[in-house]
Amino acid sequence: MDRRHFMGQSAAVLGLLAGLSTQARANLPKAEILVIGGGYGGATAAKYLRLFSNNTARVTLIEPNTAFVSCPMSNLVIGGSRSLAEMTSPYDTLSKRHGIKIIQDSVSNIDAEKKMVKLASGKTLRYDKLVVSPGISLNMNSIEGLAQANKDGVTLQAWKAGPETVALHKQIAAMREGGTFALTIPEAPYRCPPGPYERACQVANYLKQHNPRGKVLVLDANQDIVSKGALFKKAWAEQYPGMIEYRPKSNVIGVDAKNKTLKLEVEDDVKADVLNVLPQMAAGEIAIKAGLANSNARWVNVNFLNFESTARKDIHVLGDAIQIAPLMPKSGHMANQHAKVAAAAIVAELSGWEVNPAPVLTNTCYSFVNDREVVHVASVHQYNAAEKTFKTVPGSGGLSPAPSILEGIYAWGWARNIWADSLG
């Protein structure tokens, strides 16, 4: 037991000795709180459960990986200007500095009736409150031939940052002179709305320097660019003239791995040298397996006051896995913000207090159009009690007027600060 745990429990004992009718208050240090997933949502939730409870809550984080790898910024690894190590943070600060118990394992099942979590190792854990932040799952079966092609490394997703991110950069670097890199985008909603268009910039930026006759082909299932459209189109035209071909309403339905060919729903097949195929996405596997994905069997509906699943009591779901409120992006920044609202609500509930009736969320999202210049989109989301959802505030938020180096400095500053806020 660390000093913080000790002090918190002392305070609880003191409260009981004082003869107060504070049973609910005493539940806070007694409750077992489990957090599944150490991404932007889960790591932040674990840390802020400790901070908001003045280090009295007992928090266990279950995460299979030994370190956190950020999806935001990982397009820079694909473009070759940054390394994956620069966007990797250890988990041990959460235990050393904040007293969070970390179990390196994955969850194989959640029994919401018995309030038990079963780990892949076979161990079971009981919970009073469960936070589920599982990220996304990639539905490889939504595109014919993709599951095998991805397994064989013929196509890569690199949408969950990690080994595939590095592998994709290597494929681009090894591409024949004048070759084509094809990126496919599924219909929204998907993780990180501007991410694919930033990726197109990063690949073009690399090719401009190392393979100037190379091409980037963007096959987008959507009607138009989903986020920062005008800014990306302008950057493509000005910085990469003739290099990036954008085709909206281009839905990929199959992959011919042998011939490196993509089959489209309407248009003719497309052959390319490097295939980066992003399939339809859904809530992380454990959320679906546990019966939490009650929005079209893909996303998790939550009560936006405390992020509790509408399907299961005492299970709070965060981040990309949820069915979003209007104009709420699936972003790392937003997952971090979900986590703070949920952590405060859980601390309030376990203390016998009313949950904050007016939470606020913000989002900021930076995209690199080359290795130094950046554009952003920002928004503020206030809870609307009448409609029980978050709404963006009219007149607030917005876009950059143009790419700038100053925003490039802020973008990297944002990354370092959010990594420290979530994991430090």
Partner: protein, 109 residues
Amino acid sequence: MQVKYLKPILVASAMVGLSQWSGLSMAQTADQLYKRSLSATCANCHGTDGKGVVDGGMPLINNLTSEQMLAKLKAYKSGALEGTIMPQLAKGYTDEQLTTIANQLGKKQ
């Protein structure tokens, strides 16, 4: 472990009348929690409790007093102060929320 608990309990009991551990202090703590969670919306960019990464590339705010911070936030909101993201974000908060944030994160003199 029980022995370890004993001393702080006795000390604390001696320091405060038992009746003072009442609903009032709990209400203040709940209110404090709401204020902390509102202020935490700034932490993604400016650091946990407003303590940003030093030389991290993002403007540091923990050198500002509450008064200076509120003046800056209101200037961003009104458009008097230019910026990249902050004018856009400040317009999303009520004046009361900006005051809470400034009081919470501003350097105490």
